[in-house]
């Protein structure tokens, strides 16, 4: 039974130059991470600190959230709490509607993707312009982002040129990234200057000082935070870090793991609103407390959304983010989906892995991603009746050496038939791209017995 993700990958990222380019572009980020990490002697120690700091923070999350709320409030921010996606959307909409805000600029926030904020606001007459270049590209293309850090990595320059020719008044046939970026710069400037409100995410929230940390390379979040008089920051509960000393560690890991830079271009520490402006902070649960209560999976809340696991994943690179059908793709997406997702297909995402372990090896916070996938497979991934029956049958055969050998002999008899393609062939999935291994002849155990009898050394 071929999985939905496999079929989606075939359709959405067909084999050919597009697939080759996607795989190469994403792997290049992995190589940049390797180079940046190798150049930083503290790297492994930073990872270990980050792991321990996140474990500590999550184990005291109530205390840190309360402290953050108190300090942020004292600095003049207003803190809201949202149980789930609908609550987030309602809170944000109310803030905008009460102030008559109709034009909003938004910088990257995977949380708002997860909660479907854009369509909610747009259906209520509010124009939301995503200002991160990659996010704007996918927004104009009416599709979701396909990567946490590089939302449009699945798009070629020709795709983007054609899109901009249609939407931004760029000459047809323009494909130069610099000129396309220039066009986006001009186009988005107008939106920044005319916006009534800015919505951002937050990479971290520092409990000790009530500070939000917003990180970009483009400066789009800073433009949003410095022009309109209303700033709404949405973040998941797990973004808390205890203090500035911890923040230093995470900042040193984030950009190196994401893009291979020692630091992003803009790292803004925001405490309270600008003078004559408002800052509203919305803390969002949406399934995170469920993960927190799960001994096996709470570690996944340590994720700092760097994307390193996506970049190294052989499956993600050849499937593309859209095939996952979940706001967050890749290994971390597959780990979060059973808790944060809604559909049965999303709950099956932990199966979309060879369990090679590369994700675990690159995670800056040392989340044991591939082991989390294995754990989910035993608990929450739905298994059909046929699958469960097959497993019971196979286990019964394998638990008996006599039955096992009988099955082996039977398979040998039908082997030539299995090798050919015919409707209903149980080996069909294997045979789609591979030959069946050659007729193996006698099993090892049979040959071992013979060898022993002959006294061969």
């Amino acid at each position: 039974m071929t999985a939905a993700l496999d079929r989606a990958a075939t359709e959405l990222l067909p084999a050919g130059p597009r697939l080759v380019a996607h795989d190469a572009a994403v792997f290049a980020l992995r190589e940049k991470r390797d180079a940046a990490g190798s150049a930083e002697p503290d790297f492994e120690r930073l990872r270990e600190y980050a792991r321990a700091a996140k474990a500590h923070t999550l184990d005291h999350l109530d205390l840190y959230l309360e402290r953050f709320e108190a300090r942020a409030t004292a600095a003049g921010a207003i803190v809201h709490w949202a149980e789930d996606a609908p609550a987030l959307n309602r809170i944000v909409h109310a803030l905008l509607a009460e102030r008559g805000a109709r034009q909003v600029v938004k910088s990257k926030s995977m949380l708002t993707e997860e909660c479907g904020l854009n369509p909610y606001l747009e259906s209520r007459g509010i124009e939301v312009v995503d200002t991160d270049l990659g996010e704007r590209i996918v927004q104009l293309g009416h599709e979701p982002p396909s990567h946490i850090i590089m939302p449009a990595i699945h798009r070629t320059r020709e795709d983007i040129g054609a899109l901009f020719a249609r939407e931004l008044d760029v000459p047809a046939g323009e494909t130069d990234p610099a000129r396309l970026t220039e066009a986006a710069r001009r186009h988005l400037r107008g939106h920044f200057l005319g916006a009534d409100a800015a919505i951002t995410g937050a990479n971290f929230a520092v409990a000790e000082t009530g500070t939000l940390v917003v990180v970009t390379n483009e400066g789009n979040a800073d433009l949003g935070m410095s022009l309109p008089k209303l700033h709404i920051a949405c973040l998941g509960l797990e973004k808390l870090v205890p203090g500035l000393a911890d923040l230093a560690v995470f900042l040193r890991l984030l950009a190196r793991s994401a893009t291979g830079q020692p630091i992003s271009v803009y790292t803004s520490l925001v405490t309270g609103p600008r003078p004559d402006s408002e800052l509203h902070i919305v803390l969002v649960d949406n399934g995170r407390t469920r993960l927190l209560a799960d001994e096996h999976h709470k570690r996944a809340l340590g994720c700092i959304r760097c994307g390193a696991c996506l970049n190294t994943c052989p499956v993600y690179r050849r499937a593309g983010g859209h095939a996952y059908g979940f706001a967050i793709p890749g290994p971390i997406g597959a780990v979060l989906a059973p808790a944060l997702g809604r559909t049965a297909e999303q709950r099956r995402l932990p199966l979309a892995s060879t369990l090679c372990g590369s994700c675990t090896a690159v995670c800056p916070v040392k989340i044991d991603l591939h082991e989390q996938l294995i754990a989910w497979r035993a608990t929450d991934v739905p298994r059909g009746a046929r699958e469960r029956w097959l497993a019971r049958l196979a286990a019964r055969v394998l638990a008996s050496p006599a039955l096992y050998q009988l099955a082996g002999r039977a398979a040998r008899v039908v082997w030539p038939v299995l090798s050919r393609r015919w409707p209903g062939n149980p080996a069909a999935a294997w045979l789609a791209a591979r030959a069946l291994p050659e007729h193996p002849g006698a099993s090892f155990r049979a040959r071992w017995r013979a060898r022993r009898r002959e006294g061969v050394q």
Binding site: P314, A319, T354, R392, A395, Y404, A435, F444
Partner: protein, 258 residues
């Protein structure tokens, strides 16, 4: 190079189910090499499967049943040696959840992958093998990342001159020319049940490995994981290009003629 007297270590062969049924020559070569190194090799025919496919498909009850049977079969073995890193990783990394920490740790301490057993336990990188061919190494994900048989490329700041056990053994083979490949430890795309549930993606990943192996100019592709090699060779025969797969044990078992 004459056979080493390794003090007569008693080795209980752990032959993965798919090696037993689909690649028996790997098991025979494993026995040949270990005997040449002075081990007394036995094979307990009660063994069948370590349970890995059931773990990776979430069939926990079945996995526990098979893990218990496996542990019982090898309860009295001094050293359990297996020519497949993924099966050894199952015992060393997954059994604690199934059997309990202590029983699993006790068994794990006696369970070895073939290359690590030869290099670390028997203390040699030269088994007197002769294989005058160009060979590329297909690193085992489980071997590198779960068993520590070598340093995976994700690990930064280690000593680059420290070779993994598989590579060290291959470099000890007379006449063998080891060819490097691009992205040396990227997955082969097999992933057990993954190859059946996600056939397109499994083939995409595997074809890229095959291309990297082909571009290395190697005549043979080898490794410590028979499952990866079976998958790669199956792809090779369908695609019509790429080096033939041969298990590390088979290379080590080859001697100079005469």
């Amino acid at each position: 190079m004459p056979e080493r007297e390794a003090g007569g270590v008693k080795v209980a062969l752990f032959i993965p189910c798919y090696v037993d049924q689909l690649a028996p020559e790997v098991g025979l070569a494993t026995a040949t090499v270990l005997e040449r190194l002075g081990c007394t090799v036995s094979f307990d025919p009660r063994q069948t499967c370590c349970g890995q496919p059931f773990i990776s498909t979430g069939a926990r009850a079945e996995a526990v049943r098979l893990a218990r049977a496996h542990a019982a079969n090898f309860a009295h073995a001094e050293a359990v040696v297996c020519p497949s890193a993924s099966c050894v990783a199952t015992v060393r990394r997954r059994y604690a959840e199934l059997l309990g920490a202590e029983p699993a740790a006790e068994l794990a301490a006696r369970t070895f992958e073939l290359a690590e057993f030869i290099v670390s336990r028997l203390g040699t990188c030269d088994v007197g093998a002769h294989f005058p061919h160009r060979v590329a190494l297909l690193e085992s994900c489980h071997g590198l990342r779960e068993l520590g048989l070598g340093q995976p490329t994700e690990q930064l700041g280690g000593d680059p001159s420290l070779l993994g056990v598989t590579e060290r053994l291959l470099r000890g083979v007379a006449g063998l020319e080891l060819r490097p490949i691009a992205r040396r430890d990227e997955c082969c795309g097999f992933g057990g049940a993954f190859s059946v549930g996600f056939p397109e993606l499994s083939a995409r990943i595997g074809r890229d490995r095959l291309r990297a192996l082909a571009e290395s100019g190697a005549e043979y592709a080898t490794g410590t994981d028979a499952s990866c090699l079976v998958h790669l060779d199956a792809l090779r025969r369908r695609e019509g290009f790429g080096p033939r797969a041969i298990h590390l044990a088979e290379i080590l078992a080859r001697r100079a003629p005469g």
